[in-house]
Structures are given as C-alpha cells and as structure tokens.
Amino acid sequence: MSADIVDRVTHSTAPKKNRKKLSGVAQFWLIFRYISLTIILAMIILPIYVLVVNSFKGISGVYLNTAFELPKTLNFETWSAAWEWLAVPMGRTLFFVTQSSIISAMIGSINGYVLSKWRFAGSNAIFMLFLFGMFIPYQAIMIPLTQFNKAVGLTGSIYVLVLAHVVYGIPICTLIFRNYYASIPDEIIEAGRVDGASMVRIYRAIILPLSIPAFVVVLIWQFTSAWNDFLFAIFLTGGSPKLAVATTALNWLTGSSNQVYYGKNMTASLMASIPTLLVYMFLGRYFLRGLLSGSLKG
C-alpha cells in the first residue's frame, strides 16, 4: 500500500540537498518561489484580514474606502451587537451539530468495520451505492425530505437537521472509517477469531480502542460541514426564526436589507466562523484527512 495520503501532503520526499552553496540560477528560483508564495499568502489572507480589522471599528466606523485600514482604536461595539444576534442561533447550532456528529461517527465506525473486515456478498456494490449518495445534489431529495419530515412530525424541530446530517453523512463517515480500518492488519482480527472472539467482541476489545484518530477525523468533518451548512438549514427549517442556526441567522442579518450595518455584519460573519476556524487551527491535520477522503483518494 502506498504511503498515507496526509503524510504525502505534509512530507517532502525531495532528497535533502547537501548544504553546498546554491548556484546563481538555483538561488534565483528559490527567491522567486518565496516571493510567489508570499504574494499568494497575501491574497488568501485578504478576506479574513478585512473581516478582522473592520470588526473593531464600531457600529458606524466602517467605510468601504477605508476597509483595508487598521482601526484607530479598538472598539468592541459590533462584537456585542453581533453576539446579541447570533448567541441563540449559534447555541442551537452547537446543540444539533454535537448530536449529529456523534451519531454519524458511531454509524460510520460500525459500517466501516463490517465493510472492511467482515465483507459479505455484495458488500462492495453496497459501498459504491453509498458513495454515490455523497455526491448527489441535495436538491434532488429536498422536496420528498420536507414531506417526510412533515409526515413524521419533525417539521418545526431542530431534529430535522440532525436527521439530515446523520443520513446524508453516512457515505463519507463510512468511507473514512473503512479506509482507516483497511490499514489495520487482518491478522489482528484473525488472531481474535482463532481465540473464539465474536465479531462484536473483536470490535469492542481490539478495533474500537484503535479507532480514536478516525473518530476525530469524522467528528470534526461532520462538525465543520454541519456548522457551515446552509442548504439543508434553509430548505428544512424554512423561514422559521425559532429554528435559526448560525448560517441562516447570518444570512438574514447580512441579506440585502441590512447592508447599512456593515460593521455588525462583518463581525457577525467572523463570529459565526470562529468555531470552525478554531477546529481547523488545532486539528488541521485531521480536517485535511477528512477533506482528502472526499476525493476517494485516501
């Protein structure tokens, strides 16, 4: 098996140069590379920079033509205004996202275990049918899904989103766990079997304790995608303010009618992004693995 995909991204395989002096041409290219990388860095940072600097300029201190300038004094007005608007929706988002992520991870782990270590006839075909579910445009299921929610009495409850993220998260969560378990040698399972352990016992005693990294990947993947999700939220919770989550609340705030409150809008946008940004900052490597799994490559 080829080296792990995340390792491939993060470790240069190019042979280490011995510390001989670089030739003029090589030196030129090295400098060229650093300059290019820095210019790209500036372009990538620009939008978040604009958000950050303008969030400290107060309710009425934000103007388009000074958007790139640093604030003269640190003003937290917009932070409290944005918090007032977003605290409840963000709390609600955290509430449903926590549940949907945990349920998704448990389902993914069981599916991944069976589909990698206890394959049955047709299991591969089933896995492929699962995977297609990961790519579909959710518009193609949205109308029956809203009717289903109405029929089972979920409309008007935040659990419509738990259901949606759990069900449509099955493919990616199964995929991540299946790939992870594929890297655990079959001999371990075999040894357990010879000792007379059942499938469930092998899972509990051997597989589960080894699964922590995959759980982290799936939990933060489901957390990030559900937190940032707008499509399900807008379709399934409709216009109900009682079910506003971070993205829909933000969209109502920054939607065209509220353009005047630039400062508050900017701060709210930043605030709604903080949870996922924190996850990315501290668990970036796990996030990257989830991301690359989505390409079916790792």
Partner: protein, 301 residues
C-alpha cells in the same frame, strides 16, 4: 475447524445486519427520494392549489428549455464552471509546484492556503460583497481599490453586478476557497512519485524543466482527473456562494438557486423537481464513471 468456519459464516451474516440500518436509510433517503422527485417532475404539480395530480410525461422538462430564466441560469452555470475549473486547477497546481520541493515554513503556507475550506460562504459572502464592490476611482474599495494601488486601475469593473462578467466575478471567491484543496491533492500527487524517477532522469542529464515536463507531469494525470471530477461536481451544485454574495439576483442565477426559488417561493414542485433532476443528471455524468474507475482500481489492489 468446521466450527470456526460456520462461526465465520454466521458472523458475515451478522455483519450484514449491522450495516442493514444504513442500507435501508440510504435506500429510502437517497434512492427512494430521488425516484420520488423524478416522479413529481413528471406530474402537473405546478402550484400548491392543483387539486387533481396527474402525470404529464416530460412536459415540465420540455417547458424548461423554452424558459428564458432556466436557459439563463444554465448558461451562467456553465460559464461559472469553466472559469472556476480552469482558475482553481491552475492556481492550485502552481501552489503545489511552488511547495513541492519543500521550503522553510512550508507548514505555515500550507495551513493558510487551506483555511478557506473551513469557513462557510454565507460568512465569507459578507466580505466578498465588499471586495467585489462596483464603486470606482475616488469611491473605490475592495478589489477595485487594490487594482488602483498596484497601477492596474483600468481593470476596475462592476464585478458581480456586471451583466456580462458577473459569473467570472463569482468564480473568484470560489477559486479562492478551493485552490488550497487542489494544492493538497497535487502535493500528494507530486510526493507520491518515487524519487528514483527524478534521480534517474537527473543522472541522464535531463534539465530540471525537462524532468518536470517529461517525468513528473505525466505521473500526475490521475490526480488531474480526480481534481476535475471533484471541482466539476462541486461547481454543478454551487448554491451558498451565490446566495452569500448576491442573493437571488437575476444576473448571477444558477440552477441550484433557481430550483430553490421555483420550489419554495412559488411552490411549483413539478418544475423544481425537474430542475433538480437535471442537476442530478449533470453530476451523475461526471461522478458515476469516476466511481466505477475508483472501484476497479480498488479491486485490482
């Protein structure tokens, strides 16, 4: 021995039962609901007040293709896809190329290049609306101001408000978000190439340029394919980005946004379902061959 084997057989059946809830869920919520949507698309449920629902064949689809707004949204989507695909491929590839040999501080560059993937477009829409603001010259802010500052003032334009250039402008935030992802895929590609290949070419006296051109790039064609598929299917479904920046504006209309409006603003379920099926078809054409390819490669390993 026989006992162990029968145990294994029963365990395999047991395995099936553990996956069964998910199989049922996917069967209902993915395939069943797609079938249901398709069925709606063949009916006359064109408003909430239709009393007698009956099948009308492909009438809704035929009507879509004479619906000016649908054609407009489809055209926009194709324009967007073209710019987004080329832009993201090129920028992500360049980023990977610059990092591929390893530079000091690589981890830092990589982390920053990938952070846009962790933020929603509803949030970033706020700031992109500013950056892509149409005010010019003295009033300019955002990218128009940046263009002035670097002496390219003549390039100032209306961005997403411009009837002709709107979708090109819309591709900018999309490229900004996805380039890092493409970079990561290409980096994995570059670094999966065995060093020996490079070394051997170097021994043969090939120039660095030739090594890239004739040794490394051809090895990246599977990665290239993956990137195209991933970007392609994301592009077909673009929704948040458009809503986050320009809302339901006509100039930037795309299929996913139009479907939403048709279905929920005017409750024309049959038409909404037809648009949804067309998006699904476009995605399936790209994704199904890819899934088959992935499946085949996996069986071979």
């Amino acid at each position: 021995m026989a006992k162990v084997q029968s145990r294994q057989a029963s365990a395999r059946i047991g395995g099936f039962f553990f996956v069964l809830p998910s199989i049922i869920a996917i069967a209902i919520f993915v395939y069943g609901m797609i079938a249901y949507t398709f069925n709606i698309s063949l009916t006359n449920r064109n408003s909430a007040s239709v009393k007698e629902i009956k099948h009308v064949g492909f009438k809704n689809y035929i009507e879509l293709f004479s619906d000016e707004r649908f054609i407009h949204a489809l055209g926009n989507l194709l324009k967007f896809t073209g710019v987004f695909l080329v832009g993201t491929l090129v920028s992500g590839f360049i980023m990977a190329l610059l990092l591929e040999k390893g530079v000091a501080g690589e981890g830092l560059f990589r982390s920053f290049y990938l952070y846009p993937m962790a933020i929603s477009f509803i949030a970033m829409g706020t700031v992109w609306r500013w950056l892509l603001n149409s005010s010019r010259d003295g009033d300019a802010g955002g990218l128009n101001l940046v263009l002035q500052k670097i002496g390219l003032g003549f390039l100032q334009n209306d961005w997403y408000l411009s009837p002709r250039g709107a979708m090109f402008a819309m591709a900018i935030p999309a490229i900004w978000q996805m380039s890092g992802y493409v970079m990561a895929l290409f980096l994995a590609g570059f670094r999966g190439i065995p060093d020996d290949l490079r070394e051997a070419a170097r021994m043969d006296g090939a120039s660095e340029f030739k090594i890239y051109r004739h040794v490394l790039f051809p090895q990246l064609s599977p990665t290239f394919l993956t990137v195209l598929i991933i970007l392609g299917h994301i592009s077909m479904k673009v929704f948040d980005l458009i809503i986050g920046i320009s809302g339901k504006s006509y100039v930037t209309d795309v299929l996913a946004v139009y479907m939403w409006q048709v279905t929920f603003d005017i409750t024309n379920f049959a038409k909404g379902a037809s648009i949804a099926m067309i998006i699904l078809l476009m995605v399936a054409v790209v994704v199904i061959p890819y899934l088959r390819h992935v499946n085949k490669t996996e069986q071979e390993n």
